[in-house]
């Protein structure tokens, strides 16, 4: 009977019910869309690692790795000296020219590990001298094919002995030893990764301490596959941002629950008087909110799926997007909607029952958490999760300041001057901390996030643009197959009408066990200036990208052993967007001389007085190459940059919308409680236009309070994103710029949301509890 009465109450309060439904559905849509986008990207990123190597969590590397090293390690493991190690396996991993194709040759021990691809031999059994290849190499090689595997383009998998033959390596040489190291939380992490794709990238990486003697370098999967780690870090960032709308939706549900309980409480009081226990009343109330949560979850799933499709089409135009609505995402949608609604409702019920708690516990907890947050900022080992933990703690602390701030402003509010009606409007915004603080916390949080992300994006854009200014000193760039590029270099200069031709060669090598990209080119003063280095690079000097300096843990002027040669780090350079750590040496350097043929030409750059004509001539003479003008590269680079942040803009907009609904609900509740005051003003002859002006003043007051908290909080978010999150996620630093646009636009949108919430009158005449006025 009580459940039916409560459901009728929801029907008789259509505006607040529908607003709660819309807000919650938007919150669910936000996490669903992020999940679907992330899962789609994550599966593509996982495809970067051949399935046969996917189990390895670490790789052991040393110079001139010998099979004897592996057997020695295996003996130690068998004797129990390496207890955390679950499995180890020798691996050959090198790129070679096979049948005129650049192929990544992977050699594994077939006796201990059989590839998962389907056997395609006539006998149904694999041959030890045969190979497994990815789809692109099928039919391109003359070797016996055992089967097709899931792997990046151009991957060949075979037994170690076959790999040695293909690479012309001595039969004792290995690339590294793959390790499977177990840990207590492996299963929990797998569940977390399914619920939140990219979750693992946010956790701090602590290398296990293996007692295996000197000379070994332990490399984790992220360092081995930097492109995958880079992508997963982006996913973690997006997932964290996707949670924002859900958090604001939680505050919204709390606000709605408070609003409903205000009207229901007298009835609950009477029912309690009739002998119904408070716990039962709470359960009935939570049950009715649960109905809204379930409907919102269903709606959120549909909207989230649609949104994810649009976002993926936006980020990868022209691609067919097929999203998998897995059981995980359905569980996540319903689970999070129910959790948010039930926790928000229970919190509101408890507050209505007990009044405002006077305990110091929340304040002390926040102070302790703030201290932990400070440690997370200072200590890089806490990883991405540490950075986001600090942001969460700051949000919590800022949310808690709204109530005391409103009390402070209430005391000061007698000093407000101007028209009396404006005073009434502004004071209405400041005088009701109990009714408004939670909704204002949500609005402040959304504005602060928009400011923080905006500051980071603007700062990043500026640095990126400056990097492009440095890098794009050539007029025309040619890219394509190494042979075609070599042919282009050898052509007579007069044909190219170019003042300067620069060619770039590249090889992937390991330095201190870390896989890096080594670039070789003529590093005279002009070329060095492209990397913010003011003079010619010496024969024993090397330039490092920021990511490389961080991965190798070296500073300028430090020395570095590269392929047996000692090199001095001459400087570091920004390399936004690079997937791998990068090193640059001069083409006359000792390393370039030692490695010689290992390099392949990747691009050729031209300086010319007539770039358009040059580009046209190159396109005609080298149709196999991709010829691009510098101006096109800049435009495309900035377009891609802006596309990258489209998803963040959408997620912040959703959060801001949910926050605006939350403020609207709070203001409507306030209005319901202050109807007598409004009636009095009407009696005094205050007409509708003046009442709208009062509401406008109130909206401005609400917006101003949100701004007082959001501005400093947003600046702190911006600083953390630039100086903590970015270096930890991607290895680069961004100089924080206080751009006016990033500060003002979110404030303007936030103010508009507050004003609309303050001025909208719809729903203000909802019926009271169980239909009574």
């Amino acid at each position: 009977m009580i459940s039916l009465a409560l459901l009728r109450f929801l029907r008789r309060t259509p505006w607040s019910t529908s607003m709660a439904l819309v807000g919650m559905a938007l919150g669910v849509a936000s996490i669903v869309s992020v999940h679907l986008v992330s899962a789609s990207i994550s599966s593509r990123l996982d495809g970067l690692v051949p399935s046969s190597l996917a189990d390895f969590s670490y790789y052991l590397h040393r110079e001139n790795l010998h099979t004897n090293d592996y057997f020695e390690l295996r003996r130690m493991w068998r004797s129990g000296a390496l207890p955390t190690l679950e499995r180890l396996s020798p691996v050959v991993d090198e790129t070679a020219q096979v049948a005129d194709l650049s192929v990544r040759v992977l050699g594994i021990d077939l006796l201990s590990q059989t590839p998962s691809g389907e056997i395609q031999t006539s006998t149904g059994q694999f041959a030890f001298n045969g190979v497994w290849v990815d789809e692109t190499l099928k039919g391109a090689l003359s070797l016996p094919i055992n089967g097709i595997i899931e792997a990046p383009e151009g991957t060949l998998l075979s037994d170690i002995s076959v790999a040695h033959d293909l690479l012309n390596w001595p039969d004792h040489q290995l690339s590294y030893i793959g390790l499977v190291i177990g840990h207590a939380f492996a299963q929990s992490l797998e569940v977390a990764e399914n619920l939140l794709p990219g979750f693992g990238a946010g956790l701090p990486v602590a290398k296990p301490n293996l007692a295996i003697g000197p000379g070994w370098q332990l490399v984790n999967t992220a360092e081995q596959y930097p492109a995958r780690a880079f992508g997963k870090s982006i996913l973690f960032n997006i997932a964290a941002l996707g949670m924002l709308a859900l958090l604001v939706a939680w505050l919204l549900i709390y606000q709605v629950a408070v609003s409903w309980l205000r009207r229901l409480w007298p009835v609950f009081d009477r029912l309690h008087g009739l002998g119904v226990e408070w716990q039962s009343l709470r359960n009935y109330f939570l049950g009715s909110i649960g109905v809204i949560a379930s409907i919102a979850a269903g709606l959120g799933l549909i909207v989230g799926w649609w949104l994810a499709t649009k976002l993926l089409q936006m980020s990868v135009p022209g691609q067919v997007v097929a999203l998998d609505l897995s059981a995980w995402v359905v569980a996540k949608a319903f689970g999070s909607a129910l959790a948010v609604c039930l926790v928000g409702g229970a919190w509101a019920f408890k507050r209505s029952q007990q009044g405002k708690p006077q305990s110091l516990a929340p304040l002390l907890t926040t102070l302790v958490l703030l201290f932990c947050g400070l440690i997370c900022v200072l200590e890089a080992k806490t990883g991405l999760a540490g950075g986001f933990f600090t942001i969460a703690v700051l949000s919590l602390a800022a949310g808690q300041t709204i109530g005391p701030l409103l009390i402070l402003l209430k005391r000061w509010s007698s000093n407000i001057g101007g028209s009396y009606l404006m005073r009434v409007g502004v004071r209405e915004a400041l005088w009701h901390p109990a009714e408004l603080s939670v909704a204002l916390a949500g609005l402040s949080l959304s504005i602060a996030t928009a400011i923080g992300v905006g500051l980071m994006v603007d700062s990043f854009r500026l640095d990126f643009s400056q990097m492009l200014d440095h890098r794009l000193k050539y007029d025309v760039i040619a890219e394509g197959a190494p042979a075609s590029l070599e042919a282009l270099i050898k052509a007579p200069r007069s044909v190219h009408q170019a003042n300067r031709i620069q060619h770039y060669r590249t090889a992937d090598i390991r330095v201190n066990g870390v896989l890096v990209e080594l670039n070789v080119t003529q590093m005279d003063a002009f070329e060095s200036s492209r990397y913010a280095h003011d003079k010619r690079l010496g024969n024993r000097e090397v330039l490092l990208s920021e990511q490389a300096a961080r991965s190798l843990d070296v500073l300028p002027q430090a020395t570095l052993r590269i392929r047996g040669e000692t090199m001095t780090v001459a400087g570091t350079f920004s390399a936004f967007g690079d997937l791998k750590p990068r090193l640059i040496v001069d083409d006359q350097s000792v390393i370039a001389a030692a490695m010689g043929a290992d390099f392949k030409t990747t691009s050729v750059a031209f300086k010319s007085a007539a770039p358009q004509a040059l580009a046209g001539s190159l396109k005609r003479s080298s149709s196999m190459l991709e010829i691009r003008l510098q101006s096109d590269i800049r435009r495309i680079a900035l377009e891609v940059f802006d596309q990258t942040f489209a998803i963040t803009t959408v997620l912040i907009t959703i959060a801001l919308l949910v926050a605006a609904i939350s403020v609207y609900i709070a203001v409507t509740t306030l209005r319901l409680n202050r109807q007598a005051g409004r009636q009095l003003l009407n009696t005094l002859g205050v007409h509708r236009v003046e009442q709208h002006l009062m509401n406008l003043s109130m909206g401005i007051g609400l917006g101003a309070v949100a701004m007082i908290v959001a501005l400093p909080l947003g600046m702190m978010f911006g600083w953390i994103l630039c100086n903590v999150i970015n270096p930890r996620a991607f290895g680069w630093t961004i100089e924080l710029q206080m751009s006016a646009g990033a500060l003002l636009w979110p404030c303007a949108w936030g103010m508009l949301a507050a004003i609309l919430a303050g001025m909208l009158q719809v729903g203000g005449k909802e019926e009271g509890a169980f239909g009574g006025h």
Partner: protein, 232 residues
């Protein structure tokens, strides 16, 4: 302003709709009040006292009949006026005191009293607000917010605000209903004396026979929508 004013209520009727049921609150009610005179309205709950006062304030539309207020040879007809015109008229010419929720909680005592002067752009009356508060024994509470005042003090502030403009008509809807006997007597005394001194017509709804007896005329409404007018 309060010279030569008169209130005429001519056969007014008002009903409310409750679903399919029509509830007649006032039927064919007529009376007059002359300048400086007072009328008390009594009757049981639901007899239409508050509806009558709201009709006199122009807050509700009439179904039938008309109310006119004559101020210095100008006659304002409620029935002919639109809602916005009635609001502007009320702002300028009518004072109102409720039983409770009389003050704007977010304005100080002085701001509350000055509010009609501000709304009517009458800066000349702002000093009079302080004088009135002094006369009503509230000079030390001027800068407090209403929440700090007692019920009796709040009602005195409400009366001060209602008489600030010296309106021709002051309406009081059970102004003492929420007060103890001592404060009730004090508020009634302030109300009647202020209106008499400033030649303001007073229409006061009350349950108290003692207060009703202080008025020049008494109008009794009963639950059957009928009225009986008796001079005191």
């Amino acid at each position: 302003m309060t010279q030569d004013s008169a209130l005429t209520v001519n056969k007014i009727s008002k009903h409310y709709q409750d679903g399919s049921r029509q509830i007649e609150v006032i039927r064919d009610l007529s009376f007059n009040v002359a300048a400086g005179k007072s009328l008390s309205v009594t009757g049981p709950s639901g007899s239409g006292k508050s509806t009558l006062l709201n009709a006199l304030a122009g807050l509700v539309e009439l179904d039938d009949g008309d109310i006119t207020l004559e101020i210095e040879d100008t006659i304002f007809s409620y029935r002919a006026a639109k809602e916005r015109a009635r609001t502007a008229f009320r702002r300028q010419h009518i004072g109102y005191v409720y039983q409770f929720f009389n003050l704007v909680p977010t304005l100080t005592v002085l701001e509350n009293v000055r509010l009609p002067a501000r709304l009517n752009r009458r800066p000349d009356l702002e000093a009079f607000a302080s004088t009135l508060l002094g006369d009503f024994g509230l000079s030390d509470r001027m800068h407090d917010f209403p929440e700090k005042l007692s019920g009796g003090e709040q009602q005195r502030v409400a009366v001060a605000r209602a008489v600030l403009l010296r309106p021709p008509l002051l309406l009081a809807d059970e102004p003492t209903g929420n007060l103890d006997a001592e404060n009730s007597a004090q508020i009634a005394d302030i109300l009647f004396s202020s209106c008499r001194d400033q030649n303001i017509m007073l229409v006061l709804a009350t349950h108290s026979n003692d207060i009703a007896a202080m008025a020049d005329t008494r109008l009794h409404l009963d639950a059957r929508s009928s009225a009986r007018l008796t001079p005191e």
